[in-house]
């Protein structure tokens, strides 16, 4: 069956909307804006930058605008769903990821694990139709392990940045917004360093 890229993009956008509505209901407008910047924005920008450096995969025939929009909204939806499930697993009654000690890092780590578990299904089952890998994986259905490293790193760092910013309830919306945009630089550096280290460990084990 021919992949329907328009429907997939539309589905990604439409799914992100209730996720953002839920973030807005729980935390308010400013924290929702921060979530958009550090989840979807961060990932879409990282993908855009990395596409100029090394192309590990592509969405066949799709423009840069399509890819940017799909990743922006797709990761908002994916990050939000995994984040709130992780919070629900770890948070004690009367607490949440902003108030309970140690959840500021535990929830992001579990979010990364849950997202990778979901991608163990998504990538093998969907990649052949909608995106094409240029790197041949040798361990798991031909999907390179660097893909799962990328999912874990981004799905861990994005919620981490969001929690660290929005837990400052006294900060003004403007301050949160500016800091979230400014956080993209250290976030990108951290993502590159973490990915290089984890991919290096995998390569040292002779895996791909």
């Amino acid at each position: 069956m021919t992949p329907d890229f328009t429907m997939v993009l539309l589905g990604g956008i439409l799914f992100a909307l209730p996720v953002l509505a839920f973030v807005w209901w729980r935390f308010g407008g400013a924290d929702t804006f921060v979530f958009i910047i550090v989840s979807g924005g961060f990932t879409a920008i990282m993908d855009l930058i990395s596409s100029f450096v090394v192309r590990n995969y592509e969405y066949p025939g799709q423009s840069m605008l399509w890819v940017f929009t799909f990743i922006l909204f797709g990761w908002i939806g994916m990050c939000g769903t995994c984040l709130f499930v992780a919070e629900g697993i770890l948070a004690r009654p009367g607490q949440d990821m902003l108030t309970q000690p140690r959840l500021w890092w535990q929830v992001p780590v579990l979010t990364g694990v849950i997202a990778v578990a979901m991608d163990l299904f998504i990538d093998p089952a969907v990649a052949s139709g909608y995106w094409v890998w240029f790197v041949e994986g040798t361990v798991y259905y031909g999907i390179p392990l660097l893909n799962f490293v990328g999912w874990f790193v981004l799905m861990c760092l994005a919620p981490l940045a969001w929690i660290l910013i929005v837990r400052h309830r006294e900060w003004s919306p403007w301050r949160k917004g500016l800091i979230s945009v400014g956080a993209l630089v250290p976030l990108s550096i951290a993502a590159v360093v973490l990915s290089v280290v984890l991919n290096g460990v995998i390569a040292a084990l002779g895996l791909q």
Partner: protein, 64 residues
């Protein structure tokens, strides 16, 4: 303003919406995989189920 985020988590809406969103997300990918002709790999969706089960178990304990 919105400092009741922790208490909102324990309302019916706060507990049910994450389950609904996660389930719909998984269902959308199952549909996409089916349309991509990879029905043989749908069983891999089982990897995504334990997180949902853990969430439901923890939520149940919280409510109880």
């Amino acid at each position: 303003m919105h400092d009741d985020h922790a208490s909102k988590r324990e309302t019916l809406l706060g507990r049910r919406v994450p389950v609904a969103l996660y389930s719909v997300n998984l269902l959308l990918w199952i549909i996409t995989a089916t349309e991509a002709g990879r029905g043989d790999l749908l069983w891999l969706a089982l990897f995504a189920v334990p997180a949902l089960g853990l969430y439901l178990w923890r939520s149940h304990r919280t409510v109880a």
